[in-house]
């Protein structure tokens, strides 16, 4: 799967994108966040407060119960502030 990050999420992770193998026990966005947060405190600081982040799977807004697969592009970012 391809992970992409924007705004302060990108700054906290320290990169704008990365490719990662989907762990076998990850089925949803919420599972994926829990997995990333368990890797180290860098992901914890970026993604640990799930109220403050928004998620897109394959470039569409989704909620944390949305399923994920290894072929997906999954984006993490703060609430949007355009316009």
């Amino acid at each position: 799967m391809q992970l992409v990050y924007f705004a302060w999420v990108r700054e906290r992770v320290g990169k704008s994108e990365e490719t990662m193998q989907l762990p076998g026990d990850v089925e949803t966005v919420a599972d994926l966040i829990a997995h990333l947060v368990s890797i180290n405190e860098i992901y914890g600081a970026a993604l640990g407060d799930t109220d403050k982040i928004r998620i897109a799977v394959n470039q569409e807004h989704v909620s944390t119960d949305h399923p994920v697969t290894d072929a997906d592009e999954i984006a993490f970012f703060p609430p949007v502030t355009g316009g």
Binding site: A75, F77, P78, T81, G82
Partner: protein
């Protein structure tokens, strides 16, 4: 079918209206909304807009498609800029055209409300004290409820 552009460069409102009209005469109402970089306190040096290439265009097209499904529009144009902008610079342009004014006004209003809560842009403000990400406003999210 709405025309969507996500671009670094500025836009000319008059040119965009002419292009959208394309010689047609069956619209009686043209509404334009322009959003600009606001500096209320005089402390803002610049604002940099980050976006999600690909999703930005797709999301703006989805919002425009919803507007076109709700109101009888004969033309719809959305331009949103990204990159570093200074106070007073244009950020966003919405143009709606319809036979009657209510549809054009309402569609433009709807487009801006949904664009602000769904289009993947993030503003970073530069002041003399440093730079920081702009927080999302609860009022922008609440504005969507009136379209339910």
């Amino acid at each position: 079918m709405a025309q969507i552009s996500v671009q670094a460069g500025d836009f000319n409102i008059s040119d965009e209206i002419d292009a959208l009209k394309g010689g047609r005469t069956d619209m009686g109402a043209i509404v334009t909304f322009t959003g600009t970089v606001r500096d209320v306190t005089g402390e803002l040096n610049a604002m940099t807009l980050e976006h999600y290439p690909g999703m930005t265009e797709a999301e703006l097209a989805r919002v425009a498609e919803e507007a076109e499904a709700r109101w009888p529009l004969v033309g719809c144009r959305v331009i949103h800029r990204y990159g570093r902008l200074e106070p007073g610079d244009n950020i966003v342009l919405v143009i709606t055209m319809s036979a009657h004014r209510h549809a054009a006004f309402d569609a433009a209003n709807f487009l801006m409300d949904f664009l602000k809560s769904r289009a993947p842009f993030w503003k970073n403000e530069e002041t003399g004290a440093g730079s920081g990400w702009v927080d999302a406003r609860e009022s922008d999210h609440a504005a969507l409820k009136r379209w339910d």
